[in-house]
């Protein structure tokens, strides 16, 4: 499905701020996988998703999605197969347009954006049905400007807009981090439902270890641009937060220890 080989990325190369994020990074994602990605700040989680989606171009290496090489494609070409929900709820919607206009645009993804009517009346019942599945009451305010919705409502709408065109790969970049715990749970619930119903291959970054354990069939822990932990299938079902935290400490300790020794 997705096959990353020898990915290299360095920010600000040959300067004093040089930061090597990935050095010959490789990863395989199989069809139908739901992967949760954890790791400390600066581990390269978001950069990885950005490189896959094309908003950051890798220095070297190959990325193959369904057999096609996408590493050199511009972002708008890749997004035809990849759907993405961002941490910031404002990134996935157009605030000055109303809900139905936003949905209609998302629905039209992959087709021609020509001079036909923006919202066709025939589609409205379908959109309403999709919205009522979110159980946020959005189906009764389809002509409300998206800019007036709350963060949670917007994020739910973003999720719906991203998945309505059935992408091959769904990238979720901490998409619940900006929401309150209750709304966050709701969005996670929705995510699980949509992903399992449509069987979309998904990669989700999260800082919530409970979420990371509970959801999906595979867990990756990134540290300094490397996969330090890769737990799949049965093993993942038996995973607890304690085990994960211990692993987390173990991986991080190396760095901390040497610092401590240095400054002792």
């Amino acid at each position: 499905m997705l096959c990353i080989r020898n990915l290299c990325k360095t920010f600000h190369p040959n300067t004093i701020n040089e930061k090597k994020i990935f050095h010959h990074f490789s990863l395989d994602v199989s069809d139908g996988d739901f992967i949760t990605i954890i790791g400390s700040n600066g581990a390269g989680k978001s950069t990885l998703l950005n490189i896959i989606a094309g908003s950051i171009i890798a220095d070297d290496g190959s990325i193959q999605l369904k057999g096609t090489e996408i590493a050199t494609q511009p972002e708008f070409k890749r997004t035809q197969l990849i759907g993405r929900v961002f941490q910031d709820p404002t990134m996935g919607t157009s605030p000055s347009m109303d809900i139905i206009e936003n949905l209609s645009m998302a629905m039209n993804k992959g087709k021609r954006f020509g001079l036909t009517k923006g919202v066709s009346k025939k589609e409205i019942p379908y959109f309403k049905e999709m919205l009522s599945a979110l159980s946020l009451g959005l189906e009764n305010q389809i002509h409300t400007k998206v800019g007036l919705l709350s963060g949670g409502q917007r994020q739910a709408l973003s999720l719906l807009m991203t998945t309505i065109s059935k992408p091959n790969l769904l990238l979720l970049d901490e998409h619940t981090a900006a929401l309150d715990p209750k709304t966050s749970d709701r969005i996670i619930h929705l995510t699980k439902k949509i992903v399992s119903e449509q069987k979309i291959t998904t990669m989700m970054i999260t800082h919530n270890l409970n979420q990371a354990i509970e959801i999906g069939n595979r867990l990756l822990m990134l540290h300094e641009g490397k996969v330090v932990l890769d737990i799949k299938g049965e093993e993942k079902k038996n995973l607890t937060v304690d085990i994960l935290l211990k692993e987390f400490e173990k991986k991080q300790n190396k760095g901390i220890l040497s610092d401590r020794v240095l400054f002792a």
Partner: protein, 298 residues
């Protein structure tokens, strides 16, 4: 007096077409496009030279529209492909067009007294102007309601969303800029035929006039529900012409018009933010109760 109002409506609708063009870039695309300062006289010079050459006035006006679109396309190309900032690409095109306009006309201005224009028919000019500008308004309304129009709106609103939809925002931007400059050139062509001369300097201050009309129209009409943004732009253009018309009537010399325009923009922006009205009320109502009851420092 009737003549005064007819004049205002004529000018308001004529410049209104230009305001629609500026509306596309400034409001929808969020692109401060200064190239309109060049494409307005570009429309005028193209139509003037075509008319002098004896061309059909409607065809000449259409050519002005197309040439204006090309100018917008260049601005878009500079910004999208060469990654020059939006402000600078507009300025570069504006400066370049000044020389191009002089080349097209061959001199600084062309009088059009003997030539046939779109207004050379028994119909009163106001009807011709109304037909032109309302057609443009409805065409723009239609366009903004199509799937492609949605893309233009979303490009200004949230470019990331358009990229996520698998669309190259660069292409959308270039097409929107072409449309905008086409409309501005069309307006320039109309104005040149109406006042019966084209001048290389007639574009100076056009962008401010456009912005003034848009902001003015919004400040006045936004409280009225169900008024389309394009209607607001046209209305703003007429309001702007009313204000400048009255300023002239009050005895201000025409040379003061640019200053008046600047003041209108400041006033309208202030009204939009409700700052001016608010402060006025506060200073007027100081004293008595309000001072006694006011526990906060002023």
């Amino acid at each position: 007096m009737l003549n005064f109002w007819v004049n205002i409506l004529e000018q308001g609708f004529m410049f209104g077409v230009m305001v629609l063009g500026v509306y596309i870039t400034y409001k929808i695309l969020d692109f401060p496009d200064l190239s309109v300062e060049g494409s307005f006289p570009l429309g005028a010079s193209v139509v003037a030279s075509c008319l002098v050459a004896g061309m059909n006035p409607f065809l000449a006006t259409f050519i002005a529209f197309v040439v204006g679109m090309m100018a917008g396309g260049i601005t878009g190309y500079l910004h999208v492909k060469l990654k020059i900032t939006n402000l600078l690409s507009g300025i570069l095109v504006m400066i370049g067009l000044y020389s191009i306009n002089l080349r097209i006309m061959g001199k600084a201005n062309i009088p059009l007294f003997a030539q046939k224009t779109v207004f050379s028919n028994p119909m009163h000019p106001i009807f011709m102007i109304l037909i032109f500008s309302l057609c443009m308004k409805f065409a723009l309304d239609f366009l903004l309601n199509t799937k492609f129009g949605f893309l233009i709106k979303a490009t200004g609103d949230n470019p990331q969303l358009v990229t996520s939809l698998g669309i190259d925002i660069g292409v959308t931007k270039i097409i929107a800029l072409m449309l905008s400059n086409g409309l501005v050139a069309l307006s320039g062509a109309m104005v040149a035929q109406y006042q019966r001369f084209a001048d290389v300097g007639m574009g100076s201050g056009i962008i401010v006039m456009g912005l003034a009309s848009i902001i003015f129209g919004e400040a006045i009409f936004k409280r009225v529900s169900l008024v389309k943004a394009t209607t607001m732009a046209l209305g703003g253009s007429i309001l702007y012409k009313i204000v400048t018309g009255f300023a002239l009537k009050l005895g201000f010399p025409p040379t003061d018009l640019k200053l008046i325009t600047a003041v209108i923009v400041v006033l309208a922006l202030g009204l939009n933010e409700k700052k001016i009205g608010f402060k006025l009320k506060k200073t007027l109502s100081i004293g008595g109760d309000s001072v006694v009851m006011h526990t906060k420092s002023m």
